[in-house]
């Protein structure tokens, strides 16, 4: 007994070690696989549950603007207006946020004194952490009221552009307001991405520009912006993805109607996400299933945008 004990200890622990390793490695890869499973589940369940209503739908899902789904028979609903509103709101947000975000990123990296820059980095991250429902509350109670005179001025001077045609909504709860709040929400995302790529511009390139007698702006245009462009575009598309899927701010601010309307200063339009949040509590019959179908469309749109963003960012990595 004692002899076998003394001769084997070198083997027994190795055996146990292997078991430990196997268990641990399998648990870890199992967790990884579980993530794939969850994502597959998201897609699968959404598709399965939306089938009910899509099969029963009496009109074309993609071209109809109406939403009469909360019935037990003959539902008629479509995402045309919702998809339009979703893209419109996100586009407004993107157009407003991107230039400002680039400006802030440049400010943080190249203009602000170093101490201030560190603090600003903090603040940008904090801005990203504020819950969207709080943005919504602030937007609907405070901002919307402040915007009214500005909208009146817009209509007065730029009313001849169809986008700004009157009459201005009395409440200010318009597509432009929703887009504005979305812009504030995606600002930190685009800023953070742009800031990171601007930080990565090699000092050698910046010095090369300065040594040629470039001013700070010329240095930025010559060395920083071309280098950072793919990163900025990637960040903008991530922001776009976020704006497309954002629910609460739109649900709380926009006074919705299911039309396709280009008039930003009037109430109207609606986004998929906000529509789901508003309709779900009252959905009956085919209602829930129809909302899931709408969610599927949103999922597809954001997926496409995000993959595009990843692709652009990845291509930049190959370059450098």
């Amino acid at each position: 007994m004692t002899t076998t004990d003394s001769s084997t200890p070198a083997r027994v622990p190795t055996g146990r070690r292997r078991i430990g390793d196997v268990i641990f490695a399998n648990t870890a890869s199992g967790a990884g696989a579980l993530i794939l499973l969850i994502l597959a589940g998201v897609a699968a369940f959404l598709i399965i549950q939306s089938m009910d209503s899509l099969r029963a739908n009496t009109v074309n899902f993609f071209t109809t603007t109406d939403w009469n789904a909360s019935t037990r028979e003959d539902p008629a609903f479509g995402v045309a207006a919702l998809a339009f509103g979703t893209v419109l709101a996100a586009t407004i947000a993107l157009l407003l946020a991107t230039p400002v975000a680039i400006g802030i990123a440049l400010f943080i990296v190249y203009y602000a004194p170093r101490r201030v820059a560190a603090l600003l980095g903090y603040i940008v991250d904090l801005l990203a952490a504020i819950p969207s429902v709080v943005y919504g509350l602030w937007g609907v109670v405070f901002l919307v009221g402040q915007l009214r005179p500005f909208y009146d001025a817009l209509e007065n001077y730029l009313g001849w552009i169809p986008l700004f045609a009157g009459p201005v909504s009395a409440t200010g709860r318009t597509m432009l307001s929703a887009g504005l709040v979305l812009a504030v929400m995606i600002l930190p995302i685009i800023t953070a991405m742009s800031r990171d790529v601007f930080h990565q511009v090699p000092q050698a390139n910046r010095e090369a520009a300065l040594a040629l007698g470039a001013t700070r702006w010329e240095m930025i245009r010559m060395a920083v912006l071309p280098f950072g462009r793919p990163g900025v575009i990637g960040g903008a598309m991530l922001g776009l993805g976020r704006a497309l899927g954002e629910t609460m701010a739109v649900a709380m601010i926009l006074s919705p109607s299911l039309v396709i309307s280009p008039f930003l200063l009037q109430s109207g339009n609606q986004t998929i996400a906000a529509h789901i949040a508003l309709q779900y509590p009252e959905a009956t019959g085919y209602g829930v299933s129809a909302l899931i179908a709408a969610g599927l469309v949103l999922f597809a749109i954001t997926l496409a945008v995000n993959m595009g963003a990843r692709f652009i960012v990845a291509r930049r990595k190959e370059f450098s």
Binding site: W138, V141, L303
Partner: protein, 370 residues
Amino acid sequence: MTTTTTTPSTGSSGDGPRLSSSSLLTGSLPRSFAPLLLAGTAVVVGGALFALGLFHLVSFAVLTAGVYLIAITVASRAVEGGRKAKDRLVTGVVYCCFGLAMAPLISLLWTVLVNGLKRFDGYFLTVSMNGVIPSMDAGGVYHAIVGTLVITGVAALISIPIGLLAAIYLVEYGKGRLKQAITFFVDVMTGIPSIVAGLFVVALWIMIFGPGNTSGLAGAISLSVLMIPVVVRSSEEMLRLVPNELREASYALGVPKWLTIVKVVLPTAIAGITTGIMLALARVIGETAPLILTAGIASTRINANPFEGQMMSLPVFIYQQVRAMGSSGDAGIYAEERAWAAALTLILIVMLLFFAARLISRLFAPKLGR
């Protein structure tokens, strides 16, 4: 040697005014010119607006910025030339961008603080809305705080092990197709709109329990879908920062791989991982949309059991009160006050998490990083 009279032989290529040393003396505006001009513009614009009776903080700021940008560009173009003028213009624009970003943040924090404090007190934090009818000047967020803590807690219990283990897999074990697939789909998952995560659980729940079943657990699972990819991403980044020499040193001592990971790699990266997890929590704790779908929006009583019944949470509470703001009379006012106070509570919790995360990373990371 000192007299450079030989220039004509080579000076043909570009003799212009810039060959004279006086070209270095391009005029320049004094250093204090820009701030003085800005102050002057502000005074003039402010005075004019007051005189016209049109003073409003926003129009004042916008007009001042606009006038200043034009003035500095014109002045600089006249004295310093076009290139310098453009540089000054861009500098001004970049500063304006910064101001533009600060304005909503300050405005938001200020309004939440001022409006929230009206009702933010011990009573508000310690009572629920059970039995409170709209016209009553009563009620609080206790039930919503409990719900938020339970739901986020359960979400964290689900997400942290899965996310951390997946990150370990990616960094320590992963290779080939599965690793690529996980990396790619974690990226995809980061982009899932929160409402879709809610719908996923709705669809799942319908298949298991039939329609109309809401609970805290359902809410927690929907939040996990949002939280897992964030945890994976940040943990992965932190694990990659652990130098390979540490792992090799451990292997050289005959320590098996899994023990190396548990005893060497994880402790080294733990500060960064914790920070990442807390930031992920700060992000999902404010999620509203998925909870509306999965945990219900009508609950008014204290419910700490995630497996049964509707569960209120702070963000949903805010939303619920905003929807009640349209009520007539005092009911609307009370609802708005409750919404602001709840928003203040929520922001305080998020900030607490945020700063705790930063503090952890600052206190522990430098010593362990390298």
